[in-house]
C-alpha cells in the first residue's frame, strides 16, 4: 500500500511489536489454547504486513487459509485433546532448553548481522535495469492469475492433487 512514509513506519513498528510479543506467546505460554490464539494474532499481523507490501491477494489467502482454516483446526484439536495431561504440565527448564535457546539466539544474531551487510540495492538496480518496462495495465491479482494458468500450470495441478490426497488421508486416519 502506498502510504506516506511516517504512517508506514509507524504501522511497521506497531505490527512488528505485536508480532514479536505474539511469537513469544506461542512458544512460552503454558496453556496450549492461549498459545493457539496467540498464533492467530501472529498470522493476522503477517497478513497486515502483506497488505503493507502491496500483495493483497496473498494477504487475503493468508487470512482465509491460515487464520480461517489452519488456526481453527489447531484450536479444535487442542479442545478435543484437552485432557488431564495439560493441567499438570509443570514446565520446568531443562538443560536442553538452555542449549536450544543459546543456539537459536546465536542463529538470530548472526542472521541479523548478515542482513545489513548484504548490498540489496546493487541487486535491486541490476534486476530493475534488466526488466522489461512494460505497461502497468493489469493489476497484481490479474498477474498472479495469468502466471498460475500459464507458467505455473503444472505445479498448480500438482498442488490440487496434493490437497485432495491429504484431505482423503486425513479423513481416513481420523475416522478409523
Amino acid at each position: 500500500m502506498d502510504l506516506p512514509g511516517p504512517i508506514h513506519d509507524i504501522l511497521v513498528v506497531f505490527f512488528g511489536s505485536v508480532l514479536i510479543l505474539g511469537g513469544l506467546g506461542v512458544v512460552l505460554l503454558t496453556n496450549p489454547i492461549f498459545s493457539a490464539f496467540s498464533l492467530g494474532l501472529v498470522l493476522v499481523c503477517i497478513s497486515l504486513f502483506y497488505i503493507l507490501s502491496n500483495s493483497y491477494f496473498v494477504a487475503a489467502a493468508q487470512l482465509l487459509i491460515y487464520v480461517g482454516a489452519i488456526n481453527v483446526l489447531i484450536i479444535f484439536a487442542v479442545m478435543f485433546m484437552n485432557g488431564s495431561e495439560y493441567s499438570n504440565d509443570s514446565y520446568f527448564w531443562t538443560i536442553g532448553d538452555g542449549v536450544t535457546s543459546l543456539v537459536c539466539t546465536s542463529i538470530l544474531f548472526s542472521l541479523i548481522t548478515i542482513i545489513p551487510d548484504t548490498s540489496w540495492y546493487g541487486i535491486f538496480w541490476t534486476t530493475r535495469s534488466s526488466q522489461i518496462m512494460e505497461q502497468d495495465l493489469i493489476s497484481n491479482i490479474q498477474q498472479i492469475g495469468i502466471h498460475l494458468s500459464t507458467d505455473f500450470y503444472l505445479p498448480f495441478e500438482l498442488i490440487s492433487i496434493i490437497l485432495l490426497v491429504s484431505l482423503i488421508g486425513a479423513i481416513t486416519m481420523a475416522r478409523q
Binding site: G5, V12, G16, L19, I20, G23, L24, V26, V27, P32, A36, L39, V42, L43, F49, S53, N54, S55, F57, V58, Q62, I65, Y66, A69, I70, L73, I74, V78, M81, G83, E85, Y86, D89, G96, T100, S101, C104, I107, L108, L111, I115, P116, I123, F124, Q131, N140, I144, H147, L148, F152, P155, I159, I162, L163, S166, A170, I171, M173, A174, Q176
Partner: protein, 101 residues
C-alpha cells in the same frame, strides 16, 4: 523504505519457531511452531517479490504454493495427532513410540 526490518522480523519468527519446535513437549505445539517457520519463509518471499520482482510477482505465487502445502501439512499432522491421542491417551512427543512394537 527499510525492508530490512521486515527481514529482521522474519528471522525472529524463524528462530523462535526452531526453538519451539525443538523444545516443545506436545505435538500440537510443535505443529504451531512449524506454522511459524513456514510463515517466516512466506514473509521473505512476499517481501522480495515486492522489492525485486514487482512486475512478475513470482514470489507471491510461490508463497501461495507454500500456503497450500502448509494447509495439507496441518490437516495430516492433526489427523495423526488425534489418532495417536485415541490410541495412547497422550500427545507427548517422547511417548509416541507406536512404531516400536
Amino acid at each position: 523504505m527499510m525492508f530490512e526490518h521486515v527481514l529482521f522480523l522474519s528471522v525472529y519468527l524463524f528462530s523462535i519457531g526452531i526453538y519451539g519446535l525443538i523444545t516443545s513437549r506436545k505435538m500440537v505445539r510443535a505443529l504451531m511452531c512449524l506454522e511459524l517457520i513456514l510463515n517466516s519463509v512466506n514473509i521473505n518471499l512476499v517481501t522480495f517479490s515486492d522489492i525485486f520482482d514487482s512486475r512478475q510477482l513470482k514470489g507471491d505465487i510461490f508463497s501461495i504454493f507454500v500456503i497450500a502445502v502448509a494447509a495439507a501439512e496441518a490437516a495430516i499432522g492433526l489427523a495423526i495427532v488425534s489418532s495417536i491421542h485415541r490410541n495412547r491417551k497422550s500427545t507427548r512427543i517422547n511417548q509416541s513410540n507406536l512404531l516400536n512394537n
